[in-house]
C-alpha cells in the first residue's frame, strides 16, 4: 500500500492572520513539504498542475526534478497532468526525461483540468475535454511504446516517422493513473489500458467514488487485465488532526469556513459526515481512512491533501509529523484482511522485473551534421541535392 500526499499548490490567505504567502514562499514551501513527506516515511508526493493564479503549480516536471534531486526514496507523481491542453509529444519527452534523472522514481496521473479558461489559453475547446483526453493519451501511449510513430488525429499536427526522446528508462514507460470525479469515460479509459484509476474522493460524497471505482473495476476485468478486485485504485483523502480531537476542530474550523472550495457553505460537521474530510484525533483519522475500503475495496494508493486553505507551512509540517506517527498502524490496518492476490501499486522496479529485466531502449541514430547550421540551410541543401 502506497501512502502519500498531493498538493494543488494554492496561494491562499490564512484566515486567522490575514496573511497571504508570496509565490516564492509557497513554491519553496512545496519543496519543504515534499522533503518532509519522505522524512516521515511516506511513499508518494504528487503535485497538481494549474496555469492561473492563485496557484503556483506550473511546470510540474521542473518541480519534481528539483525535489527528486533532494530526496532518495519517495515516488514523485502528478495530481494531475493536463492531458487535454498539453501536447502529448511534450508530456512524452518531459516524463521520460525525469524518469531517467530520477532512476524511475516517477509516475503520473492524467486529468482534464479544473478551470474552463485553461482550454482557450492553450488553443483548445472545453467541450472537447473528453475527446482531447482520449486522443492525446492514445498518442502518448504509443510514443512511449513505439520507437517510430506515424500518427494522424484531430487535435494536433500529424507525425511522420517521429521518435520521442529519451526513450523510457529500461524500456518501461512510467506508470499512469487516470483521475476523474464523475466521468464514466475516464474510468473506461483507465480500464481499457489496464492503467490505474484515481478518484479525488475529497470534497465529494462516497457515492461518487463508489460509482466510479466500481465501473473501473468491472471494465478492467472486461478488458482482460485480471479480476476486478485486482485493478489498481487510488483515492484522495483530507484530514486535520491534533492529539485532542476538540483541539483539531477548533483550530481547523476557521480554515474550513473560509476555504476556497467549500467555504461559506455546509458546516464542518455536515461536510465531515458527507465527505471523507476527517477533523479529529489521530485515532479518528486512522479509523476513517481504513474505512474507505468498505466502498472502494482493497486499493493501492492513498494520497492526502494537507497544504491548502491557507494553513501555514509550520502547521502542515506538524500534520505530516502526526501522519508519520500513525503510519505504521495505517499500513498494518490496510494489510489486515487483504487477500494475497491483491497487487501492490506498480513501481518502475516491479514493472521492469515483470518485463524480464531492463532493456536499453535508446534509439541510436547517425550523428547529425546540422548542429551549428540554420535549419533552413539544411532544408535548402536537401532540396537542391
Amino acid at each position: 500500500m502506497q501512502i502519500g500526499i498531493f498538493s494543488v499548490g494554492d496561494v491562499t490567505t490564512d484566515p486567522t492572520t490575514g496573511r497571504t504567502p508570496s509565490e516564492h514562499e509557497r513554491i519553496k514551501a512545496t519543496v519543504a513539504i515534499a522533503k518532509k513527506a519522505e522524512e516521515v516515511g511516506l511513499d508518494v508526493f504528487a503535485t497538481g498542475e494549474h496555469h492561473n493564479p492563485p496557484f503556483i503549480a506550473t511546470n510540474p516536471t521542473a518541480t519534481l526534478a528539483y525535489i527528486g534531486a533532494q530526496t532518495e526514496r519517495i515516488i514523485l507523481s502528478t495530481a494531475t497532468t493536463l492531458i487535454t491542453t498539453t501536447d502529448p509529444v511534450l508530456i512524452a519527452e518531459d516524463y521520460a526525461k525525469i524518469q531517467h534523472l530520477l532512476d524511475g522514481r516517477v509516475d503520473l496521473m492524467m486529468g482534464r483540468g479544473n478551470t474552463g479558461p485553461v482550454y482557450p489559453w492553450f488553443g483548445k475547446d472545453i467541450r472537447q475535454g473528453i475527446n482531447l483526453a482520449i486522443e492525446n493519451y492514445g498518442l502518448l501511449h504509443r510514443l512511449w511504446r513505439e520507437d517510430v510513430v506515424d500518427w494522424k488525429g484531430r487535435f494536433r499536427t500529424p507525425l511522420q516517422g517521429y521518435t520521442s526522446t529519451p526513450r523510457p528508462l529500461d524500456g518501461m514507460p512510467p506508470f499512469v493513473w487516470h483521475g476523474s470525479i464523475r466521468s464514466p469515460e475516464i474510468a473506461e479509459q483507465a480500464a481499457y489500458y489496464g492503467d490505474g484509476f484515481f478518484h479525488n474522493h475529497i470534497f465529494w460524497p462516497a457515492s461518487h467514488t463508489k460509482q466510479m471505482v466500481e465501473l473501473y473495476r468491472r471494465r478492467f476485468e472486461h478488458y482482460g487485465h485480471g479480476p476486478a478486485d485486482s485493478a489498481i485504485v487510488g483515492l484522495g483523502g483530507q484530514f486535520f488532526m491534533r492529539t485532542n480531537s476538540q483541539d483539531a476542530v477548533n483550530e481547523f474550523r476557521p480554515y474550513f469556513d473560509n476555504a476556497p472550495v467549500y467555504g461559506h457553505g455546509p458546516s464542518l460537521e455536515d461536510f465531515t459526515t458527507q465527505t471523507p474530510l476527517t477533523v479529529g484525533s489521530p485515532q479518528q483519522v486512522l479509523e476513517r481512512t481504513l474505512s474507505f475500503r468498505d466502498y472502494a475495496g482493497d486499493y493501492q494508493r492513498q494520497l492526502f491533501l494537507l497544504d491548502h486553505a491557507g494553513l501555514p507551512l509550520k502547521t502542515v509540517l506538524e500534520q505530516l509529523d502526526l501522519l508519520g506517527e500513525i503510519l505504521p498502524d495505517m499500513r498494518k490496518g490496510f494489510a489486515e484482511g487483504r487477500p494475497a492476490h491483491i497487487p501492490e501499486a506498480p513501481t518502475h522496479g516491479s514493472l521492469v522485473a515483470a518485463n524480464g529485466g531492463p532493456t536499453d531502449s535508446t534509439v541510436y541514430a547517425a550523428a547529425d551534421d546540422a548542429t551549428g547550421h540554420r535549419a533552413e540551410d539544411t532544408q535548402d541543401a536537401q532540396v537542391s541535392a
Binding site: 475527446n131 484531430r154 464523475r182 474510468a187 480500464a191 470534497f203 472550495v261 455546509p266
Partner: protein, 215 residues
C-alpha cells in the same frame, strides 16, 4: 401507483403558495380518480431544503434530504410546481431547486405550473418566466397554468382554473399501465441518458476512441 410530486416554494407557514399547491394536488387526485387511477401525492417544501440548496450550489452535491427530494422528482409521473412571485419572476429558491437537477431529469415529464402573488398584475409570470424555464428543461407543460393573487382565494374563477389545469395534468400522465419509458411518460423514449444509465451501460472504449478523433 401513479405518483404526483408537488414542489412548493412558499416561505411562510402556512403560505398561500402551499395553499394553492394543496388545492392543485387534491384536484389532480380527483381527476385521476375519475379515471380510476390511484395516486400517491408527495409534497416537497423547498423552504425546508433552503440550506442544502445553497450548499449544493457551493459544493456540487446534494445533502441527504435534498437528494431524496430530487429522487422523488425523478420518479414522479407528474409534477405540480408552485412559486411565489418575487421581483416579477419565480423566487430564487424555486429556481435554485431546478438549477441543481441533473440535465435531462425532467425530459418529457408532465408539469403543471402555478404561482401566487399579492396582485393580479403579476399574472403573466406563468407565461414569461415559468413556461420558458420548463420548456428549456424539456418538460411538457400543460396548457393551463394557475395564477392566484391574494384576492383570488375565495373567487369561484380560481376553482374553475384549478379543475381545468388538474384535468389537463391528469390527461398528460399515462395511465394505461404501459411503461412508455423511465419516467412513464409518452415523451420519455427521447429522454437524454441519465448518469446512472451511463454507469450501468458505459460506452465501450473502442467507440470512444473513434468518436474522439472523428472531425
Amino acid at each position: 401507483m401513479t405518483s404526483v410530486v408537488v414542489v412548493s416554494a412558499g416561505l411562510s407557514s402556512p403560505s398561500s403558495t402551499r395553499l394553492l399547491a394543496d388545492r392543485l394536488a387534491a384536484a389532480t387526485t380527483e381527476a385521476l380518480g375519475d379515471v380510476e387511477v390511484e395516486v400517491e401525492v408527495t409534497g416537497i417544501e423547498l423552504r425546508d431544503l433552503a440550506h442544502q440548496l445553497t450548499d449544493h450550489l457551493l459544493t456540487g452535491f446534494a445533502g441527504p434530504e435534498l437528494a431524496r427530494a430530487i429522487e422523488q422528482v425523478r420518479e414522479a409521473d407528474g409534477l405540480i410546481v408552485v412559486t411565489p412571485v418575487f421581483s416579477a419572476s419565480y423566487s430564487g429558491l424555486f429556481k435554485t431547486f431546478f438549477d441543481v437537477l441533473e440535465a435531462g431529469l425532467l425530459d418529457g415529464k408532465p408539469v403543471l405550473v402555478a404561482a401566487t402573488a399579492g396582485t393580479a398584475r403579476h399574472s403573466l409570470v406563468l407565461e414569461h418566466a415559468l413556461r420558458p424555464l420548463f420548456a428549456y428543461l424539456h418538460a411538457v407543460v400543460v396548457p393551463t397554468g394557475v395564477f392566484a393573487a391574494t384576492d383570488d382565494f375565495g373567487d369561484a374563477g380560481l376553482d374553475v382554473r384549478i379543475t381545468r389545469a388538474a384535468r389537463e395534468l391528469a390527461n398528460a400522465i399515462p395511465t394505461d399501465g404501459v411503461d412508455a419509458g423511465r419516467s412513464g411518460t409518452t415523451a420519455a423514449p427521447l429522454a437524454r441518458r441519465t448518469v446512472a444509465e451511463a454507469f450501468d451501460d458505459p460506452t465501450p472504449f473502442e467507440l470512444l476512441l473513434k468518436q474522439a478523433s472523428a472531425a
